[in-house]
């Protein structure tokens, strides 16, 4: 059933393309229904999944038998967590694009292609299939940004596309090399994972594939596509970009690079953990001095994704499950932040300059936006009660175990995180200018129902996971106990 998350998205695309132009107003409804059904399938899959059972095959068919390529879909707790995230992000992203007026059919078609591709990546257990879905997910991003974006959109779109394709090329090279070296005539992830690749091979294949994926996860210093891409993208696209697409990179890094090449991982572990920590501190400090509201959030994403990569590199069960939880958590929180910045504020004020916003006293004009952003900010700085806290707690417990010094540096990143979040809350919403006697001179459109709904869904999700993380952790943790993940969990010391 869960494979229908993919199919339904592409069916939605088809319906949208067949839709006569005069009914194009219905496009958003169709897209929303598609996303809702997709989410329902993901949720149903999660509820029927028995955590102890490890990897569950969804469907398996021959695709290109001569090469051993199969249409293998399967799920475990990690992919289910990310499928749920994709489902939520897809629904909420459409709610925040309810006001799209320009070529809405195409917009939602690209949007659903992206979603379908992402679902596909999280479900594929055939490397070749995974790669195909990965590419499918990359292409619509370019169009979403370059057509519906703002501020330097061609530049942002092209930079994103080039970075993505460089990453893809690296991944492809490593993948094909692994296929040939293993010589088992299969792209199946589980079968490849059980093959012991020669250590010398792993030592160059691991960084190739890992960095190829991690470019999309915002690994420092390959992160620069992220802030410009986020800023240029329309709201829904930046929500998906930060919320889901960056997770594709982290997921690929975990699922492919780390699982296939544990010995290579052991050799590169410290360097990559160092890069992750640099990303945490660097992203936070750069966010501290930005003048553009959206750039602050863009760099905060780099910082938060650093926690994901750090958690993965700890090679402890607690750190890695924390990393997966952080993927989910960051997807929700970053989505919320971008929704406020892009849709609630920028679409109404047409400026993202903090200095200009400071004079607007937005908390009076847009109280709901201010409220949402304060909640999102609290969640983003990792206050207890929100999902970020439990995720970062686990990542740091793992990090303390593996590299205490990095945990210390990450702590510095947390302090700066508080500083830039409070700074931006204060500047953007609670400006210190006296309230002008006639704020109605430029009345701002009130926050609409879809926006309120979308924000409420995201806020509720982050609080729910923050208070009761077992909802996801009971899925995630047993997945690391699966036999084919053992080489990874043991950190290549098997």
């Amino acid at each position: 059933m869960i494979a229908w998350t993919i199919y339904i998205s592409f069916i939605g695309v088809l319906v949208l393309m067949l839709l006569p132009r005069r009914f194009s107003g219905a496009a958003r409804v169709i897209a929303l229904l598609t996303a809702l059904v997709g989410f329902a399938f993901a949720l149903e899959g999660a509820m029927h999944y028995r955590p102890g059972s490890g990897l569950q095959t969804v469907t398996t068919k021959d695709w290109i038998p001569s090469l051993g390529i199969r249409f293998d879909l399967a799920v475990d707790g990690i992919s289910l967590t990310l499928l749920l995230l994709t489902g939520i992000a897809a629904v909420v992203g459409i709610l925040f694009s309810w006001n799209i007026k320009n070529r809405e059919k195409e917009f939602f078609a690209f949007y659903l292609v992206l979603i379908g591709g992402v679902y596909g990546v999280f479900l594929s257990f055939d490397l070749f299939l995974l790669f195909v879905f990965y590419e499918i997910a990359i292409i619509p991003k370019y169009f979403l940004i370059s057509i519906w974006g703002s501020t330097n959109k061609e530049y942002g779109a092209m930079k994103l596309a080039l970075y993505s394709f460089v990453g893809s090329a690296m991944v492809l090279l490593g993948m094909v090399a692994a296929y040939i070296v293993a010589g088992a005539h299969t792209f199946n992830l589980v079968e490849l994972a059980q093959y012991q690749f020669p250590v010398s091979f792993q030592k160059w294949a691991f960084p190739l594939v890992f960095v190829g994926f991690a470019i999309l996860a915002g690994l420092w210093p390959f992160h620069t596509w992220a802030p410009t891409g986020h800023v240029a993208a329309p709201t829904a696209a930046s929500m998906l970009l930060a919320g889901v697409v960056m997770k594709l990179g982290a997921y690929g890094a975990l699922r492919v690079a780390m699982t296939l090449f544990p010995a290579g991982l052991a050799a590169w572990q410290h360097l990559i953990a160092l890069l992750a920590v640099i990303g945490i501190v660097y992203g936070a400090t750069v966010a501290l001095v930005q003048r553009d509201f959206k750039f602050v959030i863009g760099y905060s994403s780099v910082s938060h994704m650093g926690f994901v990569l750090l958690g993965l590199m700890t090679l402890t069960q607690v750190g890695m499950s924390g990393a997966v939880l952080q993927m989910f958590s960051h997807g929700i929180i970053a989505g919320l932040l971008f929704a406020v910045v892009g849709r609630m504020v920028y679409d109404r004020t047409h400026t993202r300059e903090l200095a200009v916003l400071q004079g607007m006293n937005l908390h009076r004009l847009l109280p709901y936006a201010a409220f949402t952003f304060v909640v999102a900010g609290m969640a983003s700085m990792g206050l207890p009660g929100f999902s970020g806290f439990v995720a970062e707690l686990q990542v740091l417990i793992g990090a303390w175990h593996s590299f205490p010094a990095y945990a210390l540096l990450a702590g510095l990143g947390i302090v700066i995180g508080v500083a830039y979040t409070l700074r931006v809350i204060q500047k953007a919403f609670f400006g210190d200018h006296p309230v002008s006697p006639s704020p109605s001179a430029h009345p701002l459109e009130a926050i609409s129902i879809p926006e309120r709904l979308g924000a409420a869904i995201l806020m509720a999700t982050t609080v729910l996971i923050g208070l009761y993380p077992r909802l996801l952790l009971d899925l995630i943790i047993p997945s690391f106990n699966a036999p084919w993940m053992q080489a990874l969990v043991k950190g290549g010391r098997a």
């Binding site: 393309m17 292609v113 195909v132 930005q290 793992g398 302090v415 700074r423 077992r470 943790i477």
Partner: protein, 687 residues
């Protein structure tokens, strides 16, 4: 096993529910908001007293009575993370103090915030604070304690910045949050280390908890960098959290600025409860800090640090308080100084003395702040003591209660609680084997405290009213506050006097209750050893402080608001330095804050030039290469191939027709390209 100890969770949950309801209540429902918040707090208070009485009657055989309930939160790796709550004498007295003082301040706020447009939101935040603070004191897990710790920090931020339209309030809120967060991150690292070391964060868990013998022994025997015991290192990290929260040097800078919040907030959060949470934390993890390899005889390194930080803070802040002119800031520095005393007490091993001072201080400092609020209210939002004066005549009830609070804080002998608790601290400090330094610093602090409080009371209540607006015809004279504000003052004043009777050397009931002993009344203990001598010495200090203060400020009260301070005339340079708070804020602004922003700018510059630069270089190389190709195409290849050129153009037209914006076509092309690529690779790969 009693009903209350298994249902202790109700105490924080009640105000939490009230806060949740108030969060969605509309502003106009003011009476409902106040009633709900006060009602929930009153219930929590009743339950707290019940818990206290249960603890009191619990069978105390062989040490401290404890009852705890643990539950699983979530799985971390292959272990479960447990949380839980705990009822022991320390929790019981803290619960009673927080809920009682909290309840009184909630009631007082009804009067103080009467005119405020955001009345409902104020009570929502207050109730949330109450809930988090009550949760903090009953946590049986360092992690749960930390969670509540962060939540009280959050509510403190929200309430300091409650009047966010004042830029100073917004800045103070941010400063408070970030400064305490620095300590909190160290605290958090301490938690990580403790978890890594002992595998649990529960305090007590039938012998498996991190404060119990097994874990402590293992942490004491292992050492880390430079031979420090791991327990000491963890203890110091946790202490950093306490330094931030309790405004100890060097993280004290946020607390005086926090006075930008409404006065009830200053009284509740920044005097009585939240800032004392740091002291409570040290008291809670006292076994960890106290653990040393030499058994009971040796003084642990962690506690030595606590003692010195506390005693230095006590004197440092008291010095600054001498030169301040804002009525609330004087009290704020006094709070910092008194918190230093508590730390000093805990550091020298006077566990019970520190907690006793925490409780008495909560009452008399809340009293002083609420009194100051009443003064500010009566003087039409004036906070500068130089523009007050003579209020004795206009606000008799406030004056009487304020005087009681002042004497309790100054430590006037026998009748006031502050005397007994401070004396107990000095007594512990005197007995400390390591150094007599903290003892002497404590004595100096006592002198300064008596001095600056006398100065403040003289400025505010004696002489003539000095405000520029003081004009009888315009009805701008000070007025007494309504009963809803003065009644809590009277109750707190009673507490400020009576509480002292529970902890005198003759009948140290409080101290014995905390340490699980049976208290006995022995009048003779007053005269044993150096007890009486120390009492006389501290009395002498207090008398000196009050006498000097009265001589400088009371005999000839200032007549004009602009008149220079008598001390300023004697020592302008020193006084200026004190008035500018030793310029700590300026030093931090020039170093830490500037450094952080400079780092941000460097990173940002790196981002713009190096990262972007690399991309541009790559782009230009690619473009240049393409341009070369085109050049070659046009002038080398094309010269003889006009026809092929035309063909090329046609095929380009064909290609561009592919770019028709139809997604299926794009996908189809990608699919085909992918298939070709695969075929090529396979073919080339020599299968």
């Amino acid at each position: 096993m009693s009903w209350i100890s298994s249902n202790l969770w109700l105490i924080p949950v009640l105000p939490l529910l009230a806060s949740a309801v108030l969060a969605v209540t509309k502003q106009p429902h003011r009476r409902f908001a106040a009633a709900l918040a006060i009602g929930s707090m009153a219930l929590a208070c009743l339950l707290s007293w019940d818990a206290f009485l249960t603890t009191l009657h619990a069978p105390a055989h062989g040490g401290i009575w404890r009852d705890f309930h643990n539950f699983r939160w979530f799985q971390m790796g292959d272990q479960w993370l447990w949380l839980g709550w705990l009822l022991d004498p320390l929790t019981a007295v803290m619960l009673v103090m927080v809920s009682t003082v909290g309840l009184l301040i909630f009631i007082y706020s009804v009067g103080y915030m009467e005119q405020d447009a955001n009345f409902t939101r104020f009570f929502c935040f207050l109730a949330l604070f109450g809930s988090a603070m009550l949760g903090l004191v009953m946590a049986n897990s360092l992690l749960l304690l930390f969670i509540c710790w962060e939540l009280v920090g959050l509510t403190s931020y929200l309430l300091i910045g409650f009047w966010y339209h004042k830029p100073s309030a917004a800045a103070a809120a941010t400063k408070a949050f970030i400064t305490t967060r620095i300590g909190d991150v160290c605290f958090f690292l301490g938690i990580l280390w403790l978890y890594g070391q002992s595998g649990t964060l529960l305090f007590y868990d039938h012998g498996r908890g991190c404060l119990e013998a097994t874990a402590l022994t293992s942490m004491v025997t292992q050492t880390t960098i430079s031979g420090m015991a791991i327990s000491t290192a963890i203890g110091l990290l946790i202490f950093c959290g306490a330094v931030g929260k309790s405004g100890q040097v060097p993280l004290h800078v946020w607390l005086p600025d926090a006075m930008e919040g409404p006065t009830p907030v200053s009284a509740l959060i920044h005097a009585a409860t939240m800032v004392a949470a740091g002291v409570f934390l040290v008291a809670r993890v006292f076994p960890l800090l106290n653990a040393s390899s030499g058994g009971g005889a040796e003084v642990s390194g962690a506690l030595t640090v606590v003692a010195w930080v506390g005693s230095i803070t006590a004197v440092f802040a008291a010095c600054i308080a001498v030169a301040q002119t804002d009525i609330k800031r004087i009290l704020a520095y006094s709070t910092v100084s008194q918190l230093g005393y508590m730390m000093l007490a805990l550091g020298v091993g006077g566990y019970a003395a520190g907690v006793f001072h925490l409780i008495t201080h909560a009452f008399f400092k809340a009293l002083l702040f609420l009194g100051a609020g009443s003064v500010i209210h009566g003087c039409h939002e004036e906070q500068d003591i130089r523009r007050m004066g003579g209020l004795r005549k206009y606000m008799p009830a406030t004056f009487a209660t304020y005087a009681i609070g002042m004497m309790a804080l100054a430590g006037v002998p026998v009748f006031f609680s502050g005397f007994w608790s401070k004396d107990d601290i000095l007594h512990s400090a005197f007995a400390w084997p390591v150094s007599k330094g903290p003892f002497f610093l404590g004595l100096i602090g006592a002198f300064l405290t008596a001095f600056y409080m006398t100065r403040q009371v003289c400025y505010v209540f004696y002489g003539d009213y000095r405000s520029a607006h003081g004009n009888k015809r315009q009805n701008k004279m000070p007025h007494e506050s309504p009963a809803v504000m003065t009644t809590p003052l009277k109750i707190l004043a009673a507490g400020a006097i009576l509480l002292g009777l529970l902890g005198t050397p003759a009948w140290p009931w409080f101290q014995d209750f905390l340490t699980g002993q049976h208290a006995t009344f022995r009048f003779g203990q007053l005269f044993e050893g150096e007890v009486l001598g120390l009492m006389l010495l501290s009395t002498l200090m207090v008398a000196g402080g009050i006498g000097l203060g009265w001589w400088l400020y009371g005999l000839k009260p200032a007549t004009k608001a602009e008149a220079a301070d008598p001390l300023e005339r004697v020592q302008p340079a020193v006084f200026g330095l004190l008035r500018e708070k030793f310029r700590v804020d300026e030093i931090y602004a020039a170093t830490v804050i500037k450094g952080t922003f400079r780092l941000g700018e460097i990173c940002s510059w790196f981002e713009r030039t190096v990262c972007e630069g690399c991309i541009r270089v790559v782009t230009y190389v690619a473009l240049g290469f393409s341009w070369l190709n085109r050049f070659a195409d046009e002038y080398v290849v094309n010269l003889g191939f006009d026809t092929s050129c035309r063909n090329l153009r046609q095929s380009a037209g064909l290609l561009s027709s592919l770019q028709d914006g139809q997604v299926q076509n794009y996908l189809r092309v990608i699919g085909v390209a992918m298939a070709i690529l695969v075929l090529l690779l396979v073919w080339g790969g020599g299968l």
